[in-house]
């Protein structure tokens, strides 16, 4: 017991150092956001001067909101990200299941082919993929932006890995009860792989939320353009950088996510985490 107390004492000393380090890092990490908040709420001349007497304003938000139909872009991005994620989860679950539950000729070759895609940078295939899209008549549609991403090698790889770790007994028990292959997938495999689904979802959503070049090339109109293309308004090289409006727009687009995280922080971390990626 005495040893445990000593452990706790040394623990609390180092705990203090930990707290300092954690806060230092947190302040560094939040600086871009803090700067965005400062600049977005103050007139342009204060975008590089930090004075407590600076007047507050909402004008930057008004200008940013004017500059592009952000509400529409937000909707587009949300739909796009949802569409891609939904298709990925569905299609890749089926494919991963095939790799785990069945033995078929050429399985390893097919799997290797799938894995190759992990390392292909999709931007490189821009011209070819644009040709395909225009042949299919899908240029300037949300579906066209998403289609090349509907099947994800990363998802197949992750899910296969997870499915392989699921105890045989559970599958056998379900088979005894007369469940079909798809029922087993739905009732045994999918529920047990939930944390992996969540982890993958986060990767996928954050990738497509940020994707820029492909959506720019394949879209023409406000009806199909995502947020990143809208944010590009402010990358205008000719006029120089106007930080006030950039930060206002950044906050406008990131606010919903930030608020959601603040409000549901605990639930978010816990539900995602329940079992962790194991």
């Amino acid at each position: 017991m005495a040893r445990a107390v000593a452990w706790r004492q040394s623990y609390s000393a180092s705990h203090w150092i930990d707290t300092c380090a954690a806060w230092l890092l947190a302040i560094l990490w939040i600086l871009p956001l803090a700067y965005a908040v400062w600049t977005a709420f103050h007139p342009t001349e204060f975008s590089a001067k930090f004075s407590l007497t600076a007047p507050l304003t909402l004008e930057n938000f008004a200008r940013a909101w004017e500059a592009a139909p952000f509400a529409r872009y937000f909707l587009n991005t949300t739909l796009l990200v949802g569409l891609i994620l939904g298709s990925q989860l569905f299609l890749c679950t089926l494919a991963a299941y095939a790799f785990v539950r069945y033995d078929f000729r050429g399985k390893n070759v097919v799997f290797a082919l799938v894995l190759v895609q992990l390392m292909i940078m999709p931007d490189i295939l821009l011209v070819e993929n644009y040709k395909t899209m225009s042949k299919l008549g899908l240029v300037d549609t949300l579906f066209g932006i998403g289609l090349p991403y509907f099947a994800s090698a990363f998802a197949i790889f992750l899910l296969r890995q997870t499915f392989k770790g699921i105890p045989k007994e559970l599958v056998e028990a379900a088979t005894m009860e007369g469940a079909s292959a798809l029922q087993i997938l739905w009732r045994v495999y999918v529920p047990l792989a939930k944390p992996v689904y969540v982890a993958f979802a986060l990767v996928s959503v954050s990738y497509h939320w940020n994707n820029f070049l492909w959506p720019l090339v394949v879209t023409n109109s406000v009806n199909s353009r995502p947020l990143t293309v809208g944010l590009q308004v402010f990358a205008s090289a000719d006029q120089g950088i106007d930080w006030s409006i950039i930060t206002a727009a950044t906050l406008l687009t990131a606010a919903p996510l930030l608020l959601a995280f603040l409000l549901f922080q605990r639930q978010f971390v816990q539900s995602f985490m329940r079992a962790g990626i194991k």
């Binding site: 001349e45 011209v127 042949k135 590009q232 308004v233 205008s236 000719d238 950088i241």
Partner: protein
């Protein structure tokens, strides 16, 4: 594979035609003109362009121009050429005038001369400033209509001039004067740290454009008109580069290393620098945001005055139907009518492209009320074509790399320009 795609294509084309026909009201055969425009979606300029398109379509019910905003110039050409390679390019687009060689080499555009038939058309084409036509004229043909054009000018902070004991209404007229004034305008704090620089010339991204001001003033042209030969290692070019390098290395009146283009107007507004070189396109921005009195002047003279032109031309794509091309040509003429060009110049800060536009009452009035607006026009007589060759982006990159190497001190001006010239010669070998 090819044949199956071809049949697929013809099927989808048939569908597309069926759809367009079905969508049109009976009898109205309107010609579609998708028009790519290099401005970020939704900025103030898009409203002007949208209005142009609406007005033009109203006047010409048989034509439907639809602007598509594609972001920066680079984003726009990526989008246009990608679409072109897939067989579905826009009918018209505004792209960098320096991309003319690329567009010709890709066989993407038709020359404007194809459409110039009547004497009236000829007069129209002859009505532009010669300096603006230069980049679009290759092999005896005109490929681009000047539209969104600019030049480099010098902005100076009058208050700082006063503080330094200089005449606030007199910008430097020569290189020597620019150096000596910059010396007076450079301020240091007690520790010897510079708190205010005399001059800055941005060097990120496309340093060649601003450097071309210096070379033109030093009386040397960087490339031949055919775009097959560069003169990067000409002693005069090296001398001009040495002047730029010395501003920071020797005189300490210019920030060291690479100066970011995007932050330069802000540096000026933050009073961190007394004089800057940047595009006329920045006039409206600086006018709105600078909290002090400033002036705009022509670039100072070396052996003579000079500046490159810059900005975008209006191009018509080859794969469009003849009817679409004619419609686009009509639109180009409509856009550059004096009154409209004048209004465009006032609204955006770009230089109105024809002398006739500057003779309109609106622009005359504007130029009297706000004299800086006319500086760019007056400088046009000294302006030269922006550097442009075959394989343009690659040659320019070799040049940019050389400039940045010299400015960051990793090579001497001479070695940097020798290397750039060697690379340019290698690249251009196949075009001779």
């Amino acid at each position: 594979m090819k044949t199956s795609f071809h049949s697929l294509q013809s099927i989808s084309r048939a569908f597309a035609t069926a759809f367009t026909l079905a969508a049109l009201p009976a009898g109205a055969q309107s010609v579609e003109v998708p028009f790519y425009f290099p401005v970020a979606v939704g900025g103030p300029i898009t409203k002007i362009i949208d209005q142009f398109a609406t007005d033009f379509n109203k006047e010409n019910p048989s034509i439907k121009v639809s602007p598509i905003y594609a972001g920066s110039y680079q984003d726009t050409i990526v989008k246009a050429l990608t679409a072109n390679k897939a067989g579905t390019p826009p009918v018209a687009s505004v792209l960098l005038s320096t991309d003319t060689f690329t567009l010709i080499d890709e066989d993407a555009i038709v020359s404007i001369d194809t459409f110039v038939k009547s004497p009236e058309d000829k007069a129209w084409l002859g009505g532009f400033y010669k300096a603006f036509l230069l980049n679009g004229q290759i092999g005896g043909k005109t490929w681009g209509v000047p539209f969104q054009r600019s030049t480099v000018v010098l902005y100076w902070n009058k208050e700082m001039f006063k503080e330094a004991g200089l005449d606030p209404n007199k910008a430097p007229q020569t290189w020597a004067e620019m150096t000596s004034m910059a010396q007076k305008l450079t301020k240091k704090d007690a520790s010897g740290k510079v708190t205010q620089y005399g001059i800055q010339i941005p060097s990120s991204g496309f340093p060649y454009w601003l450097f071309q001001g210096l070379t033109t003033q030093n009386d040397v042209i960087l490339a031949n008109e055919a775009g097959t030969q560069t003169k990067f290692d000409d002693p005069k070019v090296i001398e001009a580069l040495q002047y730029w390098v010395d501003l920071s290395k020797k005189h300490g009146v210019h920030p060291s290393g690479i100066v970011e283009w995007g932050t330069t107007p802000k540096d000026f507004m933050e009073k961190k620098v007394a004089m800057i070189w940047t595009t006329t396109g920045n006039l409206t921005n600086i006018r709105t945001n600078a909290k002090f009195d400033f002036g705009v002047a022509m670039l100072p003279a070396g052996k003579k005055r000079g500046s490159p032109t810059g900005g975008g031309n209006f191009f018509i794509f080859k794969k469009a139907t003849p009817a679409q091309q004619e419609a686009a040509f009509k639109f180009a003429k409509w856009l550059t009518q004096p009154a409209r060009a004048a209004q465009w110049g006032i609204d955006t800060g770009y230089v109105a492209v024809s002398p006739a536009a500057w003779d309109t009452p609106a622009l005359k009035k504007y130029a009297t009320e706000f004299p800086p607006a006319a500086v760019a026009r007056d400088q046009l007589q000294y302006a030269v074509a922006e550097l442009s060759t075959h394989d343009n982006q690659r040659v320019t990159k070799a040049f940019n790399d050389g400039l940045q190497a010299a400015l960051t001190g990793s090579k001497t001006a001479e070695a940097a320009m020798r290397d750039a010239q060697k690379e340019a010669e290698r690249l251009l070998r196949s075009y001779k």
